[in-house]
Symmetry: C3
Subunit: 140 residues, 3 copies
Amino acid sequence: MQRSQAQTRFEISTKDQLSVTDITAQVHAAVPDDLTGIITVFVEHTTAAIAVNEAEKRLQGDLETALNELIDDTGWRHNEIDGNADSHIRAMLIGASATIPIEDGELATGTWQSVLLIECDGPRTRTVSVTATPAVNSHT
Amino acid sequence: MQRSQAQTRFEISTKDQLSVTDITAQVHAAVPDDLTGIITVFVEHTTAAIAVNEAEKRLQGDLETALNELIDDTGWRHNEIDGNADSHIRAMLIGASATIPIEDGELATGTWQSVLLIECDGPRTRTVSVTATPAVNSHT
Amino acid sequence: MQRSQAQTRFEISTKDQLSVTDITAQVHAAVPDDLTGIITVFVEHTTAAIAVNEAEKRLQGDLETALNELIDDTGWRHNEIDGNADSHIRAMLIGASATIPIEDGELATGTWQSVLLIECDGPRTRTVSVTATPAVNSHT
């Protein structure tokens, strides 16, 4: 049996400027076997985000399209610095983390839920941390 | 006094395709009496979301209107599968969970804050989990 | 060494109707010195939000512009009550809290990440709480 770990990190390489990557397997591998509680999945960057939704290929493309259409890619003042204001704003709309309930070492998610890394300024290598927190009376 | 419970679940039936339901009472009932810490309110579906905001009827309608206007309901590739790509995208913008501070068994929220289930593909029966996590030095 | 505290609060005065304020220093001051785990940063209001992103002045203005453009400021039914439906909707898109990993008393964030208070209906004085939760096996 794997030892409980407070905090682990993994890296993900993304392939396109705007892309959705299923990281459920990597997140699951970071969950202590005996944990009942929550995990916080956190991306250590300002132009990427974490969501919990369905990892269906066409939907992943649809989310990319939607984020592109919601936020223009020109006219921003931050672009005087590094030309990626749109990526920051898209990432803020989704959020840098997801907090997910865990039951007996398994993600307590619904049938269609996966953990998704939303890349908004790729391709890049991104660092994701998973912090495991026990629930009350869980005797972990 | 109620025993502390690590993790509880309840079900909510929603009435319309896009609708906002106040679930504060159900969430509060799932909070251990003596908890100081946080709870994670998590909806186990990919076309519904959790928000913390005001449970005012006209505002609830306004949020429905805003989500409708932000995301079109046609032109998505995922619709080849089950016709609800817009619902997924709206749910991702709000998020599948809320993490809320708890003080002595009560939601440590502001005067106007309620916990809201945002239904994006109803009417449906939705499962919501509440996981209770103690703060440091809280002797729960 | 500072004693671990389960839950602390601080106040922030904002300057404009829509504005972004870097609150990283205040959040950091509320983190117990020896904590490894997570903190939940929560704003106790329905027209303000918390994000984790870059605290660059031009980007802060860009986010204000983007939230203004995404959500119209007229035509809402809640405005019959207090004229700020747009502020509520903008706040819901960002979210009332952020959950952030902590390692040995420090925010385990990336180089460019700061904690931001997104004011959507200012200028106002806002109350923010920070709740500290230990990770498994962290012996806090």
